[in-house]
Subunit: 478 residues, 2 copies
């Protein structure tokens, strides 16, 4: 059990003799693309295919953090591209190893040719996340920071971005690390007592240990409590759009999406795919669940297909129930019951669409009709874009997400959350044990268990399976 | 008319006070992304949002061709990303201006945030191709080299890549430039004679001029002749797949596409879109024209829709006519006539598919049936992948494309081709004029016309419209 009582120190250059290469920029055609090489032979393998413009230059004798201009040439000395080559040297690089970055013209053909040449000259194709994995293994960052690199790359809103960058820059790692070290000091003393069981000594001050345990319990609880917000921000808040056909559901969704897309496409040719069903409102990502299919005849409503629609409501945190002001359903009572039954514990927003088509007094009638209905009511016209910002504000209110401030520590990783829960149980057992005065061997076991789970978060404790799960989700080239 | 008799020298930093910025890597999520800034304030504007890890570092005092590590921060001092910043200084940069490249994590959100910050700090969003346009205007490359940058980025095969890189590195530019300068010397002498018309002097040696004109005619002819090959290689060779339904057309296309895609996806997640209907065989790009729709009943064949299919044959250089060995059409004679009529001047390859389903002697019968048919015959099974490489070889033979060697000069740009044709007419008039002894003023006019068209290719002669056309086709960020 003493195996995991210190941080595992991985030697620099843990990749051993292998040097990896991958295209690190987004796939496809761009102005430029970057191919990254890391490992013991990064300079040698790159130099083999590089001919500097200034013939006196050789990558092997270039200083760290400098850029050289020249050509990539193939085995027949044929030029493949004119490139810029950046050199970084161990240990002051992202991975901690020697790194070369080749910045080439962004043709897919050229990217592949250069990668082929590197593979032919001794590089291995990098696995997903292998650069970041090496950075972790070489001690450049802990595991939760490495995971934040992937979150940072995937971040689509200011909130998810803030959480990721705060985590990448240390986040709760150093605090957990420090608490774990304090636990280690205590457990060592407790275990020392075990060698002197005959003499009934107490090296570990029980009241200090109690103070530490309470402190740890508080830190863990606080972190765990941030998970609801963190998870919602990371994965988007699920919103079900419910309503009969022709109430203007898709017009509304398009209006919301287009407002965002207009901003996005002003800057960059982002593909429709990535934002198709997601809307970023005031920095919070909302993920829409399609529930198309409610028809206005009772027979059809009762069909299996419609039942599935209602089941989808259960995946949502917020239900947007869209109504056509000009034509309320004949089955309103029945509908209300159905939707309400499925929406227990969820926020429902009643959206009265086509408000421009009715008179002020008709609105009053509507209001009375839904008097007993709990939840917010919003009057809009999707087509005329009346009060759609009011709806956006209502969504943000319903999300109940406090604004993430720069530097806020928020747990948004299910792996961390699970480890925190287990660490919490262990530390509660330590507290109970101290209160009931259990023996040192039981105490030691609970402390070590807590240390284990805290260590899993920062990667002090890790195994190939955990690492495989984490880095397998990265993109290649990072 | 004397305005265009020298190369226009643009001053360095022609962008004037404007500094441009754009995301230069392919759109979307990647491991890393690069944002490029060029112009007089590139360092100042970048430095305003950059905080180096080493607080002693400031981009304004960094040496050229060095890389600094630090963070991008927004106006509230909030960190947006940890980045590497490369500094290049005028005149030794791609554009000839100061350039900063920010290498950030490849999140779309981060890319946009950094670009927003740069725009807020005085940068302008770069237009498509504006970096390369500045390189041209600052005399870092001539116009045909600038155009080759776009070709290089779009290159998808070794042939199109070789043509582009040869052109980007000078290609025929310097030769045309030198011929143009020699013409300029002559025309100056000829025009000098005009000032002495009373005295009947001849400053320009007519026989030397004749030699030069013959030489120019030869160079232009040789270049023009390469256009058929260059254009085919650049845009792909159009191949029409013709055949009745169920002869195995789409199976065949899939087999051909899959063989390539397997290679491609081994290296990179290339999207299906880019290669959907194109096949790169032995370095030559073939572009398939879909002609689905020939049905095996005479009535339907005669329908309007089918007529359109035959019209598509006319766009092709090569016609792949696929037949089902086991079931020849009842309307074979009629079909043969139709297809042959549309294929005049094209290469037709008869592809007998499902060859595994018939006996050797049946193949003989088939052969006799098509005895009078000109063009190659290939026997394959698309499903069993029998002799598909034989078909590939037949396609390459039919393309009649000589292999492009590294450094070969090939014209593949329709703008260059048109200018060469016009320059050719002019130089032929010069030759005729010299032979018939026309007066100096007419001679001068033809020489200047030839110079004009040669100058259009290299960009010595250009105007906003030409530049707009050329650089408008670039991607943003290059």
């Amino acid at each position: 059990m003493k195996k995991d009582d210190t941080n595992i120190d991985f030697p620099l250059g843990v990749g051993g003799s292998s040097t990896i290469a991958a295209i690190s920029t987004a796939p496809g055609i761009g102005g430029i693309a970057v191919i990254r090489i890391s490992g013991i032979d990064a300079l040698k393998n790159s130099n083999a295919i590089f001919k500097a413009k200034n013939s006196a230059i050789n990558l092997l004798n270039q200083f760290a953090n400098t850029i050289s201009y020249g050509s990539i040439i193939n085995a027949d000395n044929e030029p493949i591209d004119d490139v810029l080559v950046s050199v970084f040297k161990t240990p002051h690089s992202f991975t901690g190893e020697d790194i070369v970055e080749i910045s080439c013209h962004g043709s897919v053909f050229i990217q592949q040719e250069i990668l082929h040449l590197l593979l032919a000259n001794g590089c291995k194709l990098a696995q997903p996340g292998e650069f970041t994995q090496r950075a972790f293994l070489n001690g450049k960052m802990d595991l939760s920071q490495a995971e934040a690199v992937a979150d940072l790359i995937a971040s689509t809103s200011s909130s998810s971005h803030r959480m990721a960058i705060s985590q990448m820059r240390g986040g709760f790692s150093s605090e957990l690390q420090s608490l774990r070290t304090q636990l280690l000091n205590f457990v060592s003393l407790v275990e020392l007592e075990l060698d002197f069981t005959e003499e009934d000594v107490e090296f570990a001050n029980r009241s200090q240990l109690m103070t530490l345990a309470f402190n740890i319990e508080k830190v863990i609880s606080t972190l765990s409590d941030t998970f609801r917000v963190g998870n919602a921000l990371k994965n988007g808040i699920p919103v079900a759009l419910v309503g009969e056909t022709n109430v203007g559901k898709s017009t509304l969704l398009n209006v919301l999406l287009n407002e965002e897309k207009a901003i996005v496409s002003e800057i960059h040719g982002t593909t429709r795919d990535t934002i198709e069903d997601s809307i970023n409102i005031q920095g919070i990502q909302f993920r829409f669940i399609d529930t198309a299919g409610i028809r206005d005849t009772k027979d059809k409503i009762e069909s299996m297909g419609i039942e599935r629609t209602y089941q989808k409501i259960e995946q949502a945190s917020i239900v947007l129930w869209i109504l056509d002001c000009t034509q309320l359903s004949e089955h309103m009572e029945w509908l209300t019951e159905k939707i309400s039954k499925r929406s227990v514990g969820k926020k429902i927003i009643l959206v009265f669409n086509k408000i421009d088509k009715i008179a002020e007094e008709e609105r009053e009638v509507l209001n009375q009709l839904f008097e007993t209905f709990e939840g917010e009511r919003i009057y809009i016209s999707a087509r005329e874009k009346i009060n759609t910002d009011g709806l956006q504000n209502a969504l943000v209110r319903a999300a109940q997400i406090p604004e993430i401030q720069p530097g806020d520590v928020v747990v948004n990783n299910i792996r961390h959350f699970e480890a925190l829960k287990l660490a919490h149980s262990s530390i509660c057992r330590v507290i109970d044990g101290l209160e009931s005065g259990i023996t040192g061997d039981f105490l030691s076991q609970d402390i070590r268990e807590c240390m284990h789970y805290l260590g899993e978060i920062t990667g002090s404790i890790s195994n190939d399976e955990i690492l495989g799960n984490i880095f397998g989700k990265f993109c290649i080239g990072k």
